[in-house]
């Protein structure tokens, strides 16, 4: 494929695929409760995720190893088992939350309780994984995700004060409810720096047979795509801050968040919100399911690949089949999707240190990345991100108890 076309498609799909249930929930809650005060958390998370995604892609292109493969090979199975178990557990919670997001979107439109949608949604995810290809999932669903740009259009239509937006870039503590503020900040970072992104991205790159020629493409997709993608997340926060915050509405459920776009776009605003939530969560659910199947198959040395026929990668296909079905059960029993989302985002931060720490070794190991080793800027950002990951992992649970 022509490189420019590939970069353009990569950027578009990064923007369309940026939002997921966690990003929508945390940004809406942040905007409705604290106005623009948590913009800095989205910006900080975006910078970290740009660098980590770029490194995952560079590792895959330069070494032909997925992240999971490289960690297992370089550190041994006794080390890799820790991030593996943690990742599978977090993926399970996140997948249930994503399925919940799709179910809620359907509930908003039809009025039929989200629990009834759990199994049909799980089936739709499974059939697409079973019959579809990686290209369809990466490009097709993520391109549909461009509908989430509606939050950016709404932002422009609402004319936010640039001075106040600028003030949100600098971290400040609110006068009250500090623990809840910090909990939301941790959840935003957990939603943005999702470990599944790195495993999924590197597996996709290996499946698409990236080599050194793709280093530039990777850099553009990670930098520009993720950078613009974060604008969608900022859009959700800003719209919530402008529409819900002044009225005193705190987003405690998706039904409240659904009102965000009705003042700007009327009935279509409501439909566009439901469509954005549904498509973003559906796309993310496909990625999380695949991610779990990728890392499990890569750990045990099974055949893997979304583009392979299920018969050629039977155990890989079995993993996502079981996983999707089990995750849908959490919604079937009626667990609150928003609370599950916030909980799983906080738990995600616990798994960050063992997932991010190996980057420091792998991305400086000549036998893996050769001449494409990290420079001092990338290493500085990586060390900062690792330190941040440790802090987040330590404070996540106390903040969940006190401020969640």
């Amino acid at each position: 494929m022509n490189k420019i076309l590939m970069i353009a498609l990569g950027i578009l799909t990064s923007i369309g695929g940026f939002l997921d249930v966690g990003a929508i929930a945390t940004a809406a809650e942040a905007g409705s409760e604290f106005g623009y005060q948590l913009i800095w958390a989205i910006l900080l998370g975006t910078i970290c995720v740009i660098f980590l995604v770029e490194m995952s892609g560079r590792l895959a292109a330069a070494s032909k190893h997925t992240l999971a493969d490289a960690i297992r090979e370089r550190f041994g199975i006794s080390f890799y088992i820790i991030p593996l178990i943690a990742e599978v557990f977090v993926d399970f919670l996140v997948l249930a939350a994503e399925i919940g997001g799709v179910c809620i979107a359907l509930q908003l439109v039809t009025g039929i309780s989200f629990q009834w949608w759990a199994l049909p949604v799980a089936f739709a995810i499974w059939i697409l994984l079973w019959k579809g290809t990686l290209g369809l999932i990466e490009n097709g669903i993520s391109t549909l995700g461009l509908i989430t740009l509606v939050f950016v259009f709404a932002t422009f239509k609402l004319h936010p004060s640039l001075t106040q937006l600028g003030a949100g870039i600098l971290p400040t503590l609110p006068r009250e409810d500090v623990t809840h503020y910090l909990f939301i900040a941790v959840s935003i970072l957990g939603a943005l720096i999702s470990p599944y992104l790195f495993y999924f991205y590197s597996s996709g790159a290996v499946e698409d047979k990236w080599d050194e020629e793709y280093i530039g493409v990777n850099r553009m997709i990670a930098g520009v795509g993720m950078g613009f993608g974060s604008i969608v997340s900022l859009g959700v926060l800003i719209v919530a801050a402008l529409v819900l915050h002044p009225k005193g509405i705190q987003v405690d459920s998706y039904e409240q968040a659904a009102l965000m776009l009705t003042e700007t776009f009327g009935y279509w605003g409501f439909i566009l919100f439901a469509a954005s939530l549904g498509i973003a969560c559906f796309g993310a659910a496909l990625e999380v399911s695949l991610d779990t199947a990728y890392i499990v198959a890569q750990t045990f040395g099974w055949n893997w690949g979304e583009s392979l026929h299920p018969k050629e990668a039977a155990r890989f296909s079995l993993v996502y089949t079981v996983f999707v079905f089990l995750a849908s059960l959490l919604m079937l029993v009626g667990i609150d999707p928003l609370q599950l989302t916030l909980f799983s985002m906080a738990i995600t931060t616990l798994t960050l240190p063992p997932v991010i720490l190996p980057f420091l070794v792998l991305m400086n190991d000549k036998s893996y990345v050769g001449e494409y080793r990290n420079g001092w800027i990338t290493n500085s950002v990586l060390i900062f991100t690792i330190a941040l990951a440790f802090i987040l992992a330590i404070v996540a649970i106390p903040l969940e108890i006190i401020g969640g």
Binding site: Q107, V178, I249, Q250, L259, I402
Partner: protein, 141 residues
């Protein structure tokens, strides 16, 4: 090994320490409840208003109004435990009014009666202002 034990011990005690340091006072808890009541009352108002203008579908309006009522009932239960005396009496009275008004709005939505919704929406706005004023008053030292 000893150092590791100290670190683990410290890590386990951190939540307890933070919880103890940040335990909110009874007044803070009541204030938080008032904010939640205000949030759900305003949600019900916004949903009713949006339904009247045809900006949201009827099934969504019904579900969300039911949810708002359910949340307000939960708040009433909580306030019965946390607030006391005159304060409790006033707050429960407001919650009762809100509950009645949201029931009227729900009924209008159920019957698709666009004329019947205007009056309870107006009264709901007045109740919201009263709850909001109480929340602000609770912020005063």
């Amino acid at each position: 090994m000893k150092r590791l034990r100290i670190i683990i011990f410290g890590f386990l005690w951190l939540p307890t320490l933070l919880t103890a340091c940040s335990r909110p006072s009874s007044a803070d808890e009541v204030k938080k409840e008032l904010q939640t009541i205000n949030s759900w009352a305003t949600t019900a108002h916004m949903v009713g208003e949006a339904w009247r203008k045809g900006n949201v579908p009827t099934p969504y309006a019904k579900t969300t109004l039911q949810k708002a009522q359910k949340e307000l009932h939960k708040e009433a239960d909580t306030l019965e435990k946390k607030a006391s005396g005159k304060e409790q009496e006033i707050l429960l009275k407001h919650l009762q009014n809100l509950d009645q008004l949201i029931s009227q709005i729900s009924k209008a939505v159920e019957q698709k009666d666009y004329n019947a919704i205007a009056q309870p929406l107006q009264e709901l706005a007045t109740e919201e202002q009263a709850v909001s004023a109480l929340a602000k008053a609770s912020e005063q030292p």
